[in-house]
Amino acid sequence: MRSPLSRAGTRRVAALLWSAGWAAAGWADSPTVTTAANIGNASGAEIYGHICQGCHMGQAQGAVGAGHYPKLAGDPALVSWQYVALTVLNGKNGMPGFGVPPQQYEFIFGAVCLSDAQVAEVVNYVRSHFGNKWKSNVSANEVAALPHPK
């Protein structure tokens, strides 16, 4: 068998180059599309609004088609911040893991990686909005202590 691994490896390199030269620049100067410089400082609300909302929807109400996106508003599972953080980091079913290093993917453009601080921010946000009333002060260090995808 010809090595798919080496082919994938080559492509990962190529994809990284694209990210360097192009994707980063693409974030510039738009109020709607986040800049590479400021996403690192984005609040939980901004991360939710730019990323999570695409599937879980604006009021965290989820959606139903042939399958469904889970409703986060009023979801009792949110009692566990670890559950929420691990889901963000690892993904679930079709949901990408936001802790997976992009270079892991054969097609690197699909991947978005959040820092532990960003994961903490968005976990706190989701657990304390949309009618969810959990006191949530998860820190980057606490997220860092969770097992991360390699």
């Binding site: 180059l17 604006g58 978005v112």
Partner: protein, 541 residues
């Protein structure tokens, strides 16, 4: 990934290391357009399904290209076939949006496409390489007319918002100048004996001659403004006829400016095996293929069928489904065997009694985010003003692509562009917008390349694949690790159920992956069916 790194951006250190490894490998466009990596299709002609047991039946879930190519072959081989499809149309991601079409995405936004007659966009796949022989053979069998897909257009633009003052450059300028400067440098190194250790004296002469040809160098092996270089990059004033005919050569862009612009990353895109000329598109839109399959299979497809449970026993497989127009009533379909092409994010949520290895594989593949935006303009200004006939402009803006129609050149009236084809973080952000906002942003960004946009814009549609009710994502994203751990399990037959689709292929994101995975899966199901012999009567309900 460092903790302070940003969304989708690897650290600078990582990048430099990777760039060093790549050493000039052609990058961005390859990666951008590469939805799969094994570009060569394993298609080896029609699948051999001779000897189907009398009365044997197959239930197919999903009327995309995987499901319909399988249904076509199995029916022709004598199997009883029934297909359940969630949408009210055949094709799945093989789909064109045309004037009069309506599309409701998850979240409830409905878009009415207001394109003029014969104008369309392909929200999903849009090109067929010459070596995707499975796809091409079905186009031929089904009578789907093909026309050329222009991948490389020398007169389209390469654009960086951070180079040349944000002004787009023609592809021919960047390619000719990059190649010319590299040829000049290599010629210089050769003549300064820097290559003596690796190239013989005799070959050095030939190398110099070839560099002069390849790079359009002058007799001194220099890349300069000349008729010769202008024949590649274009003239300041084109040659013509009559009194004012004398051409004026153009001035090349300096090597440093080319390198700094990063536009060189785009040059080899069309050299990729899956992007090489010739590529094709069905006349009238990619969706013509799914529509043709749908006509061919006719009543074998049950539309508006939402599968809610899949259960196998030792004699067959039963799918429970609802008609989406009358939900709440459980209907069933049963057959001896099942080919399931339901996209994995959805399948992962459907109760199904398969073993832990297949269940684990189904849950292991996240789906990519992608967005396409179609924009209708009052006139074909890209042809009239800029002489761009088909092909693709590439940009570092979030829209990434502007693709011009490869057909209908010089048509009077309106025209439709692909005004954006986004992946990754930018796609997620566009997904989070309303369709109207996506269109507005695409017009805003595109205006930086085509200043005619604001004046000429008419209307638009935008499809965000994570909002697609029938896929919940664009295509399966494998990692090296998940491939190693789960891919074979995903493709293996579990009892009486086999999976197929682009997700069960090494040509991810390409229709050829769907077709070849389907043919492979039904070939294996057929072997089991033959071994099992004639089924008990009355399997198909």
């Amino acid at each position: 990934m460092e903790n302070n790194s940003t969304v989708s951006s690897p650290s600078r250190r990582d990048l430099l290391r990777m760039i060093g490894v790549a050493a000039g490998s052609a990058a961005m466009y390859q990666a951008m357009t590469s939805l799969g990596f094994a570009a060569n299709s394993p298609y080896r002609g029609p699948v051999d399904l001779q000897g189907a047991p009398l009365g044997a039946s197959v239930l197919i879930l999903g009327a995309g290209l995987a499901g319909m190519s399988a249904a076509y072959e199995l029916r022709n081989a004598g199997y009883q076939v029934q297909v359940l499809e969630y949408n009210g149309r055949p094709g799945g991601r093989n789909w064109s949006l045309r004037g009069g079409d309506s599309y409701t995405e998850l979240g409830g936004h409905t878009q009415e496409c207001r394109f003029d007659k014969d104008l369309y966009i392909n929200p999903g796949p849009w090109r067929i390489p010459y070596h995707h022989r499975g796809m091409l053979s079905y186009c031929k069998k089904l009578g789907v007319a093909l026309e050329p897909f222009v991948q490389v257009n020398y007169n389209a633009y390469l654009h960086s918002s951070r180079a040349f003052g944000g002004k787009p450059r023609r592809f021919r300028e960047i390619k000719a100048d990059y190649q010319g400067h590299v040829a000049e440098l290599l010629a210089k190194a050769t003549r300064q004996n820097a290559l003596d250790a690796s190239v013989s004296k005799e070959d050095q002469e030939k190398l110099l001659e070839s560099l002069r040809e390849w790079g359009a160098l002058d007799k001194n092996h220099a890349y300069v403004a000349s008729d010769k270089s202008s024949e590649r990059r274009g003239y300041e004033k084109d040659p013509g006829g009559g009194l004012t005919a004398r051409p004026i050569p153009s001035e090349p862009i300096g090597l440093s400016d080319i390198l700094d612009s990063n536009l060189w990353q785009q040059i080899p895109g069309g050299d990729r095996f899956d992007m090489q000329t010739a590529l094709f598109q069905p006349a009238g839109g990619m969706g013509r293929i799914g529509e043709a399959f749908g006509r061919e299979l006719g009543p074998l497809i049950r539309y508006n069928a939402k599968v809610i449970d899949i259960r196998q026993d030792d004699r067959g497989v039963t799918a429970t489904y609802e008609d989406t127009r009358t939900p709440g009533i459980g209907l069933t379909a049963r057959a001896d065997w099942c080919l399931c092409t339901i996209p994995l994010p959805i399948l992962a949520q459907i109760p199904m009694n398969v073993g832990p290895t297949l269940a684990g594989a189904i849950a292991a593949v996240p789906y990519a985010s992608a967005v396409k935006v179609g924009l209708q303009f009052k006139r074909r200004f890209w042809e009239e003003d800029e002489h761009i006939y088909g092909g693709i402009t590439y940009t570092d803006l979030p829209i990434a692509n502007i693709s011009y129609p490869n057909t209908g050149f010089h048509s009077a009236g309106k025209g439709v562009l692909l005004g954006g084809y986004l992946f990754g973080a930018n796609a997620m952000e566009f997904t989070a917008m309303t369709p109207e906002e996506r269109v507005r942003k695409a017009v805003e960004y595109g205006s930086q390349i085509h200043p005619q946009y604001p004046q000429e814009f008419d209307n638009g549609v935008a499809v965000a694949w994570h909002r697609s009710p029938f896929t919940m994502g664009c295509f399966g994203m494998w990692t090296v690790d998940t491939r190693a751990k789960h891919y074979d399990d995903l493709c293996a037959i579990d009892g009486r159920i086999a999976l197929a689709g682009e997700h069960a292929s090494y040509i991810g994101g390409w229709q050829e992956g769907a077709v070849t995975s389907a043919l492979d899966a039904i070939g294996r199901l057929h072997q089991r069916a033959v071994a099992a012999g004639t089924p008990a009567a009355g399997a198909m309900v």
